[in-house]
Protein backbone atom coordinates (compact mmCIF):
# COMPACT_ATOMS: atom_id res chain seq x y z
CA UNK A 1 0.00 0.00 0.00
CA UNK A 2 1.19 3.46 -0.86
CA UNK A 3 1.50 5.56 2.30
CA UNK A 4 0.70 9.25 2.06
CA UNK A 5 -1.04 11.90 4.16
CA UNK A 6 -4.45 10.48 3.25
CA UNK A 7 -3.77 6.82 3.88
CA UNK A 8 -1.54 7.32 6.91
CA UNK A 9 -2.70 5.82 10.20
CA UNK A 10 -4.70 8.51 12.01
CA UNK A 11 -3.62 7.27 15.43
CA UNK A 12 -0.92 9.26 17.18
CA UNK A 13 1.73 7.21 18.95
CA UNK A 14 4.01 10.02 20.08
CA UNK A 15 1.88 12.74 21.60
CA UNK A 16 2.15 15.32 24.35
CA UNK A 17 5.94 15.06 24.43
CA UNK A 18 8.14 17.83 25.77
CA UNK A 19 10.38 18.38 22.72
CA UNK A 20 11.18 21.99 21.78
CA UNK A 21 8.72 23.68 19.41
CA UNK A 22 9.56 22.77 15.83
CA UNK A 23 11.68 19.73 16.77
CA UNK A 24 12.71 17.74 13.71
CA UNK A 25 13.54 14.58 15.64
CA UNK A 26 10.07 14.29 17.15
CA UNK A 27 8.55 14.61 13.67
CA UNK A 28 10.75 11.75 12.43
CA UNK A 29 9.69 9.54 15.35
CA UNK A 30 6.01 10.46 15.08
CA UNK A 31 5.81 9.74 11.33
CA UNK A 32 7.75 6.46 11.55
CA UNK A 33 5.44 5.18 14.29
CA UNK A 34 2.37 6.19 12.28
CA UNK A 35 3.69 4.13 9.38
CA UNK A 36 4.61 1.14 11.56
CA UNK A 37 1.43 1.17 13.65
CA UNK A 38 0.60 0.04 17.16
CA UNK A 39 2.49 -3.25 16.89
CA UNK A 40 5.80 -1.37 16.80
CA UNK A 41 8.00 -1.90 19.85
CA UNK A 42 10.20 1.15 20.20
CA UNK A 43 13.64 1.31 21.81
CA UNK A 44 15.08 4.71 22.69
CA UNK A 45 18.54 5.19 24.13
CA UNK A 46 19.57 8.26 26.11
CA UNK A 47 18.92 11.24 23.89
CA UNK A 48 16.34 13.88 23.12
CA UNK A 49 13.49 11.53 22.26
CA UNK A 50 13.74 9.49 25.46
CA UNK A 51 14.18 12.65 27.53
CA UNK A 52 11.08 14.29 26.08
CA UNK A 53 8.98 11.14 25.82
CA UNK A 54 9.32 9.58 29.24
CA UNK A 55 8.87 11.99 32.15
CA UNK A 56 7.08 9.77 34.61
CA UNK A 57 4.13 9.92 34.94
CA UNK A 58 3.94 11.79 31.60
CA UNK A 59 4.48 8.89 29.15
CA UNK A 60 4.07 10.00 25.57
CA UNK A 61 4.29 6.77 23.58
CA UNK A 62 1.01 4.99 22.91
CA UNK A 63 2.78 1.81 21.79
CA UNK A 64 5.25 -0.30 23.75
CA UNK A 65 8.41 1.73 24.25
CA UNK A 66 11.46 1.34 26.41
CA UNK A 67 14.62 3.29 27.21
CA UNK A 68 17.87 1.42 26.58
CA UNK A 69 21.42 2.13 27.66
CA UNK A 70 23.10 4.76 25.52
CA UNK A 71 25.29 2.22 23.73
CA UNK A 72 22.72 -0.55 23.60
CA UNK A 73 19.91 0.47 21.22
CA UNK A 74 20.68 -2.26 18.70
CA UNK A 75 21.42 -4.96 21.27
CA UNK A 76 18.14 -4.25 23.07
CA UNK A 77 16.33 -4.47 19.73
CA UNK A 78 17.99 -7.83 19.19
CA UNK A 79 16.78 -9.00 22.60
CA UNK A 80 13.22 -7.75 22.07
CA UNK A 81 13.01 -9.38 18.67
CA UNK A 82 14.35 -12.69 19.97
CA UNK A 83 12.14 -12.57 23.07
CA UNK A 84 8.91 -11.89 21.20
CA UNK A 85 9.79 -14.50 18.59
CA UNK A 86 10.42 -17.05 21.34
CA UNK A 87 6.94 -16.33 22.72
CA UNK A 88 5.45 -17.03 19.30
CA UNK A 89 4.57 -13.41 18.56
CA UNK A 90 5.17 -12.51 14.94
CA UNK A 91 3.15 -9.38 14.08
CA UNK A 92 5.49 -6.74 15.46
CA UNK A 93 8.32 -4.47 14.35
CA UNK A 94 11.25 -3.89 16.69
CA UNK A 95 12.25 -0.31 15.93
CA UNK A 96 14.99 1.81 17.48
CA UNK A 97 15.19 5.60 17.45
CA UNK A 98 18.67 6.81 18.29
CA UNK A 99 20.22 10.20 17.76
CA UNK A 100 23.40 10.87 15.84
CA UNK A 101 25.61 10.50 18.93
CA UNK A 102 23.81 7.35 20.04
CA UNK A 103 24.33 5.88 16.56
CA UNK A 104 27.64 7.04 15.13
CA UNK A 105 29.62 7.44 18.37
CA UNK A 106 28.28 5.54 21.35
CA UNK A 107 26.02 2.92 19.80
CA UNK A 108 28.05 2.01 16.71
CA UNK A 109 29.44 -1.22 18.15
CA UNK A 110 26.04 -2.65 19.09
CA UNK A 111 24.64 -1.56 15.73
CA UNK A 112 27.53 -3.17 13.87
CA UNK A 113 26.98 -6.40 15.79
CA UNK A 114 23.26 -6.47 15.06
CA UNK A 115 23.87 -5.95 11.34
CA UNK A 116 26.49 -8.69 11.38
CA UNK A 117 23.97 -11.12 12.92
CA UNK A 118 21.31 -9.85 10.50
CA UNK A 119 18.77 -9.59 13.30
CA UNK A 120 15.26 -8.70 12.16
CA UNK A 121 15.22 -5.11 13.43
CA UNK A 122 14.69 -1.60 12.10
CA UNK A 123 17.16 1.02 13.30
CA UNK A 124 16.29 4.65 12.66
CA UNK A 125 18.90 7.31 13.32
CA UNK A 126 17.41 10.80 13.65
CA UNK A 127 20.37 12.99 12.89
CA UNK A 128 20.35 16.49 14.37
CA UNK A 129 24.10 16.72 13.99
CA UNK A 130 25.19 17.13 17.63
CA UNK A 131 24.37 16.03 21.19
CA UNK A 132 21.39 18.38 21.43
CA UNK A 133 19.83 16.89 24.56
CA UNK A 134 22.80 17.81 26.74
CA UNK A 135 23.25 21.26 25.24
CA UNK A 136 24.84 20.99 21.77
CA UNK A 137 28.15 19.12 21.97
CA UNK A 138 29.91 17.89 18.84
CA UNK A 139 29.25 14.33 17.67
CA UNK A 140 30.95 12.55 14.79
CA UNK A 141 27.96 13.49 12.62
CA UNK A 142 28.43 17.23 13.21
CA UNK A 143 29.35 18.76 9.83
CA UNK A 144 32.47 20.79 9.08
CA UNK A 145 32.31 24.37 10.37
CA UNK A 146 29.38 23.93 12.75
CA UNK A 147 29.63 25.75 16.05
CA UNK A 148 28.91 23.65 19.11
CA UNK A 149 29.83 24.14 22.77
CA UNK A 150 32.80 21.77 22.34
CA UNK A 151 33.83 23.18 18.96
CA UNK A 152 33.36 26.91 19.57
CA UNK A 153 33.95 29.53 16.93
CA UNK A 154 36.79 31.89 17.75
CA UNK A 155 39.54 33.83 16.03
CA UNK A 156 41.72 30.83 15.19
CA UNK A 157 39.37 27.86 15.07
CA UNK A 158 36.07 28.30 13.37
CA UNK A 159 33.79 25.59 14.64
CA UNK A 160 34.10 21.88 13.92
CA UNK A 161 37.26 20.98 12.00
CA UNK A 162 36.26 17.48 10.92
CA UNK A 163 33.83 16.48 8.19
CA UNK A 164 30.63 14.56 8.93
CA UNK A 165 31.16 10.81 9.30
CA UNK A 166 29.51 8.89 6.47
CA UNK A 167 27.31 6.64 8.56
CA UNK A 168 25.18 5.46 5.62
CA UNK A 169 28.21 4.04 3.80
CA UNK A 170 29.62 2.53 7.00
CA UNK A 171 26.35 0.69 7.53
CA UNK A 172 26.13 -0.32 3.88
CA UNK A 173 29.71 -1.65 4.01
CA UNK A 174 28.45 -4.34 6.40
CA UNK A 175 26.41 -5.76 3.55
CA UNK A 176 23.17 -4.86 5.37
CA UNK A 177 19.82 -5.99 3.89
CA UNK A 178 18.51 -2.45 3.52
CA UNK A 179 19.83 1.00 4.32
CA UNK A 180 18.49 4.39 3.33
CA UNK A 181 18.89 8.07 3.98
CA UNK A 182 15.92 10.40 4.33
CA UNK A 183 14.97 13.93 5.34
CA UNK A 184 12.04 15.33 7.28
CA UNK A 185 11.79 17.85 4.45
CA UNK A 186 10.73 14.97 2.19
CA UNK A 187 8.25 13.07 4.32
CA UNK A 188 6.57 11.02 1.53
CA UNK A 189 10.00 9.62 0.64
CA UNK A 190 10.74 8.91 4.32
CA UNK A 191 7.39 7.18 4.84
CA UNK A 192 7.95 5.05 1.76
CA UNK A 193 11.36 3.97 3.06
CA UNK A 194 10.05 3.14 6.55
CA UNK A 195 7.20 1.13 4.99
CA UNK A 196 9.58 -0.70 2.66
CA UNK A 197 12.03 -1.42 5.48
CA UNK A 198 9.28 -2.87 7.68
CA UNK A 199 8.50 -5.46 5.00
CA UNK A 200 12.08 -6.75 4.77
CA UNK A 201 13.35 -9.54 7.01
CA UNK A 202 16.79 -8.77 8.39
CA UNK A 203 18.53 -5.64 9.63
CA UNK A 204 17.34 -2.33 8.25
CA UNK A 205 18.86 1.10 8.81
CA UNK A 206 17.33 4.49 7.99
CA UNK A 207 19.27 7.69 8.54
CA UNK A 208 16.92 10.69 8.63
CA UNK A 209 18.17 14.25 8.82
CA UNK A 210 16.15 16.12 11.46
CA UNK A 211 17.09 19.77 12.10
CA UNK A 212 17.10 21.04 15.68
CA UNK A 213 15.96 24.69 15.91
CA UNK A 214 17.73 25.11 19.26
CA UNK A 215 21.09 23.71 18.21
CA UNK A 216 21.15 24.88 14.61
CA UNK A 217 20.17 28.45 15.35
CA UNK A 218 17.05 28.52 13.21
CA UNK A 219 13.48 29.60 13.91
CA UNK A 220 11.10 26.83 15.12
CA UNK A 221 9.01 27.07 11.95
CA UNK A 222 12.06 26.60 9.69
CA UNK A 223 13.12 23.06 10.56
CA UNK A 224 11.15 21.30 7.81
CA UNK A 225 12.23 23.84 5.22
CA UNK A 226 15.92 23.65 6.22
CA UNK A 227 15.78 19.84 5.95
CA UNK A 228 14.32 20.22 2.45
CA UNK A 229 16.92 22.78 1.42
CA UNK A 230 19.77 20.53 2.59
CA UNK A 231 18.60 17.97 0.03
CA UNK A 232 17.90 20.55 -2.69
CA UNK A 233 21.37 22.10 -2.49
CA UNK A 234 23.08 18.70 -2.56
CA UNK A 235 24.44 18.69 1.00
CA UNK A 236 22.29 15.73 2.06
CA UNK A 237 21.80 12.93 -0.44
CA UNK A 238 18.67 10.81 -0.44
CA UNK A 239 19.85 7.31 -1.27
CA UNK A 240 19.17 3.62 -0.74
CA UNK A 241 21.28 0.50 -0.49
CA UNK A 242 19.60 -2.81 -1.16
CA UNK A 243 20.89 -6.17 -2.42
CA UNK A 244 24.39 -4.75 -2.61
CA UNK A 245 23.42 -1.89 -4.91
CA UNK A 246 23.46 1.82 -4.15
CA UNK A 247 20.85 4.06 -5.73
CA UNK A 248 20.46 7.83 -5.46
CA UNK A 249 16.81 8.90 -5.22
CA UNK A 250 16.96 12.60 -6.02
CA UNK A 251 19.08 15.00 -7.97
CA UNK A 252 19.77 18.35 -6.27
CA UNK A 253 17.56 21.08 -7.68
CA UNK A 254 19.64 24.10 -6.87
CA UNK A 255 23.33 23.60 -6.11
CA UNK A 256 23.96 27.34 -5.84
CA UNK A 257 21.53 27.65 -2.92
CA UNK A 258 24.16 26.20 -0.60
CA UNK A 259 25.50 29.58 0.48
CA UNK A 260 22.13 30.98 1.54
CA UNK A 261 21.23 27.65 3.17
CA UNK A 262 24.41 27.76 5.29
CA UNK A 263 24.03 31.43 6.15
CA UNK A 264 20.49 30.94 7.44
CA UNK A 265 21.76 28.80 10.31
CA UNK A 266 23.18 30.38 13.45
CA UNK A 267 25.70 27.57 13.91
CA UNK A 268 27.42 28.57 10.63
CA UNK A 269 27.18 32.34 11.05
CA UNK A 270 30.91 32.76 11.76
CA UNK A 271 32.06 31.01 8.57
CA UNK A 272 34.07 32.99 6.02
CA UNK A 273 33.56 32.70 2.27
CA UNK A 274 36.59 30.39 2.08
CA UNK A 275 35.04 28.09 4.69
CA UNK A 276 31.86 27.88 2.67
CA UNK A 277 33.95 27.20 -0.46
CA UNK A 278 35.44 24.27 1.44
CA UNK A 279 31.96 22.95 2.35
CA UNK A 280 31.08 23.31 -1.33
CA UNK A 281 34.16 21.32 -2.39
CA UNK A 282 33.31 18.58 0.14
CA UNK A 283 29.83 18.39 -1.36
CA UNK A 284 31.08 18.39 -4.97
CA UNK A 285 33.63 15.63 -4.37
CA UNK A 286 30.83 13.53 -2.91
CA UNK A 287 28.68 13.97 -5.99
CA UNK A 288 31.69 13.19 -8.23
CA UNK A 289 31.86 9.83 -6.50
CA UNK A 290 28.35 9.09 -7.72
CA UNK A 291 26.58 10.56 -4.73
CA UNK A 292 28.13 8.16 -2.27
Amino acid sequence: MNVNANTLNEDEFFYGHKACAGCGGSLAVRIALKVLGKRAVAVLPAGCMSAVGFNFPQLCFANNAIISTFAGTASMLTGIEAGLRAKGITDFVAVGFAGDGGTADIGIQALSGAIDRDDNILYICYDNEAYMNTGVQKSSLTPFGAKTTTTPAGGNVRGNLRPKKNMFEIVAAHGIKYAATASIGYLPDYMKKVQHASEIKGTKYIHVIAPCPTGWGIAPDESVEIAKEAVDCGLWILAEYENGIFSVNTKPKNLSALRTHIKKQGRFKHLTDEDIDHIESLRDSKWENGGQ
Binding site: E10, G16, G24, S26, P57, C60, A62, V224
Partner: protein
Amino acid sequence: MKPYLRSIKAKWTLQDYPDNTTYEAGYLISKNAGWRSIRPVIDTKKCSGCLQCYLHCPDGVISKRDGAVAIDYDFCKGCGICKRICKLKAIEMEAESK
Protein backbone atom coordinates in the same frame (compact mmCIF):
# COMPACT_ATOMS: atom_id res chain seq x y z
CA MET B 1 -5.94 6.00 19.61
CA LYS B 2 -3.52 8.46 21.09
CA PRO B 3 -2.08 9.33 24.50
CA TYR B 4 -4.62 11.38 26.45
CA LEU B 5 -4.82 13.55 29.55
CA ARG B 6 -5.69 11.84 32.83
CA SER B 7 -6.88 13.47 35.98
CA ILE B 8 -4.24 12.98 38.59
CA LYS B 9 -4.64 12.78 42.29
CA ALA B 10 -3.35 15.71 44.31
CA LYS B 11 -1.34 13.39 46.42
CA TRP B 12 0.31 10.14 45.41
CA THR B 13 0.60 7.33 47.88
CA LEU B 14 3.10 4.51 47.68
CA GLN B 15 0.44 2.26 46.12
CA ASP B 16 0.08 4.64 43.18
CA TYR B 17 3.66 4.14 42.07
CA PRO B 18 4.51 1.17 39.86
CA ASP B 19 6.44 -1.56 41.63
CA ASN B 20 8.75 -2.02 38.65
CA THR B 21 9.96 0.14 35.79
CA THR B 22 6.91 -0.31 33.59
CA TYR B 23 3.78 1.78 33.42
CA GLU B 24 0.73 2.38 31.25
CA ALA B 25 1.59 3.69 27.76
CA GLY B 26 0.22 7.01 26.57
CA TYR B 27 -0.38 8.46 30.02
CA LEU B 28 -0.42 12.26 29.99
CA ILE B 29 -0.81 14.49 33.00
CA SER B 30 0.19 17.93 31.71
CA LYS B 31 -0.57 20.07 28.67
CA ASN B 32 1.93 21.94 26.50
CA ALA B 33 -0.35 24.91 25.77
CA GLY B 34 1.56 27.22 28.10
CA TRP B 35 4.68 27.01 25.91
CA ARG B 36 2.99 29.02 23.19
CA SER B 37 3.07 32.77 22.56
CA ILE B 38 1.40 32.53 19.16
CA ARG B 39 -1.34 30.16 18.03
CA PRO B 40 -2.22 28.83 14.58
CA VAL B 41 -5.76 29.59 13.45
CA ILE B 42 -7.21 27.74 10.47
CA ASP B 43 -9.46 29.45 7.95
CA THR B 44 -11.66 26.48 7.10
CA LYS B 45 -13.02 28.29 4.02
CA LYS B 46 -9.54 28.40 2.48
CA CYS B 47 -8.54 24.91 3.65
CA SER B 48 -8.70 22.30 0.91
CA GLY B 49 -7.89 19.38 3.20
CA CYS B 50 -4.52 18.62 1.57
CA LEU B 51 -3.32 17.49 5.03
CA GLN B 52 0.24 18.81 4.67
CA CYS B 53 -0.03 20.56 8.06
CA TYR B 54 -1.33 17.35 9.63
CA LEU B 55 1.61 15.47 8.12
CA HIS B 56 4.33 17.93 9.14
CA CYS B 57 3.24 18.82 12.70
CA PRO B 58 6.03 17.60 15.05
CA ASP B 59 3.51 17.28 17.88
CA GLY B 60 0.75 15.62 15.88
CA VAL B 61 -1.85 18.08 17.17
CA ILE B 62 -3.55 18.59 13.80
CA SER B 63 -6.21 16.05 12.90
CA LYS B 64 -8.59 15.48 10.02
CA ARG B 65 -12.11 16.83 10.51
CA ASP B 66 -14.94 17.16 7.97
CA GLY B 67 -12.69 17.46 4.92
CA ALA B 68 -10.53 20.07 6.65
CA VAL B 69 -8.32 19.99 9.74
CA ALA B 70 -8.62 20.87 13.43
CA ILE B 71 -6.00 21.74 16.03
CA ASP B 72 -5.69 20.38 19.57
CA TYR B 73 -4.69 23.57 21.39
CA ASP B 74 -3.91 21.67 24.58
CA PHE B 75 -0.72 20.33 23.01
CA CYS B 76 0.14 22.84 20.25
CA LYS B 77 3.45 24.58 20.99
CA GLY B 78 2.96 27.30 18.37
CA CYS B 79 6.05 26.41 16.30
CA GLY B 80 4.42 27.66 13.09
CA ILE B 81 5.51 24.83 10.78
CA CYS B 82 1.85 24.36 9.75
CA LYS B 83 1.59 27.98 8.67
CA ARG B 84 4.76 27.74 6.59
CA ILE B 85 3.84 24.47 4.94
CA CYS B 86 0.32 25.64 3.94
CA LYS B 87 0.36 26.60 0.25
CA LEU B 88 -3.14 28.08 0.42
CA LYS B 89 -2.27 30.41 3.31
CA ALA B 90 -5.20 29.04 5.25
CA ILE B 91 -3.31 29.18 8.55
CA GLU B 92 -2.43 32.40 10.36
CA MET B 93 -0.43 32.75 13.56
CA GLU B 94 -2.18 34.97 16.10
CA ALA B 95 -0.79 36.34 19.34
CA GLU B 96 -1.97 34.59 22.49
CA SER B 97 -3.92 37.01 24.64
CA LYS B 98 -3.63 36.79 28.39
